[in-house]
């Protein structure tokens, strides 16, 4: 079953919300597939000063979303791009077998948000 850390992050997720006038927004998924993850980034001097998310999805989708925002916040854009799916899973104390489908979605959404920021810049 789910690790204590996953349940903790899932029940009390940090960085939930929208950043008004975000420097980058990345969205992954569709309601048909049952997951929609949107990540918002605020960038100052190449540093992700704020990272927030909105997620429609399962326990894994929500807990990885909050973990990705926590790992990315405070990092430079280049550093944030080196965060791996394994880093996210490790920070959550591992995922139960067969539950890794959604684990990369939040990271994909972060990458898309950074791409969006770079395209704008």
């Amino acid at each position: 079953m789910y690790s204590k850390k996953i349940i903790e992050e899932f029940t009390n997720p940090k960085n939930v919300g929208i950043i008004e006038n975000a420097d980058g927004v990345g969205e992954v998924g569709s309601t048909i597939d049952g997951d929609v993850i949107t990540v918002y980034v605020k960038v100052n001097d190449d540093v992700l000063t704020d990272v927030k998310f909105k997620t429609f999805g399962c326990v894994v989708a929500i807990s990885t979303s909050t973990m990705v925002t926590q790992l990315a916040k405070g990092k430079t854009v280049d550093e944030a791009l080196t965060i791996s799916n394994e880093d996210v899973q490790n920070a959550l104390g591992g995922l139960p077998s067969g539950k890794d489908r959604c684990s990369g979605f939040a990271l994909d959404a972060l990458h898309k948000a950074i791409e969006d920021y770079r395209n704008k810049a």
């Binding site: 997720p13 309601t31 326990v59 894994v60």
Partner: protein, 390 residues
Amino acid sequence: MMDIMKRIYMDHSATTPVDPLVVDAMLPYFSERFGNSSSLHSFGQEADEALSLARAQVADSIGAQAEEVIFTSGGTESDNIAIQGVISRDSGKKQHIITSVIEHPAVLSTCDFMKGIGHDITYVPVSSEGIVNVDDIEKAIRDDTVLISVMHANNEIGTIQPIEEIAKIAKDNDVYLHTDAVQSVGKIPVDVNKLGVDMLSISSHKLHGPKGVGALYVREGTLLKPVTFGGGHESGLRPGTENIPGIVGFAKASSIAKERLAIDSSQMGRLRDSIIKKVFDTIDDVRLNGHATKRLPNNANLSFRYVEGESMLMLLDIAGIAISTGSACSSRSRHASHVLDSIGLDPDYVHGSIRISLGRDNTMEEVDYLAGTLRETVSKLRQISSPAKC
């Protein structure tokens, strides 16, 4: 958050707690009256007497004759014996079965296997309310149709199928009718003659009996071939030494369920209606899946927009309430259940479904706690999800 001692169980379509009276009835048959019912000595006689009495009790609970009841290991085996047993009579010949798209996997997977070995299956659709159209069944009948298998009540959305009408068609066309009544026994009246079925599957653990035991009703004169082989127990249809403690418990549970049917059914219905009302009064963007009235009195299957089923299940579980969801996320895919897919539920709602299935011990106080917790749960998850584009 609820104390672990105060956990609330509202997942009775998955399984039920064993009634203490059932446990008491079973206990002597483990170590004291442990005989093999096939043995001629007094130990065997005790077991055989218990088996006969149990058979009469289970038969009585569904209006059948004792010799028409075959004890099995549960609903899945009963469904397999019914379907494979009909096909096996003439397995070299291509035969046709009619079933519905919302059957339990015990029926669907057996039919799929039959298809794989060369037989033909027609899977009739259901309406958006989850009910089979009798005309579709009639139209599907062909010269080589040997069996119709349609469940009495659906395990997910609780819809009650028009078995009596299907029985008329089956009879007119000289085709056997099997129904999986695993979910309906103990919730609504189940009488094999009133329903007009040739075969009917029951499971003990859905009606406060032990797991690992069930029955297949086989109407006298119905021709079935065994699908497993052995010592000729259970009229040769289910060989293997009978699980006497389990069968005794199952029979006791069946008798209790029959005695309590009217009172349990109205009590569960009252609580279920209260859940639906409270949910609709306090939560927006919600749907009741299945039929408004043609449904089991203990079933409420609800879908909430902008929230996902597993997330709801986990938050409710943390709050001490056990329910189930029709949305499953596995490594390969997230898919809604085949039942929710087949009723054509709006994609915005299909992943946010939960099944609340009540039992006879649930109370109005528990229902109030559920309704309040559900409102908080949906609100919390919507704060996380909305307004992501969903």
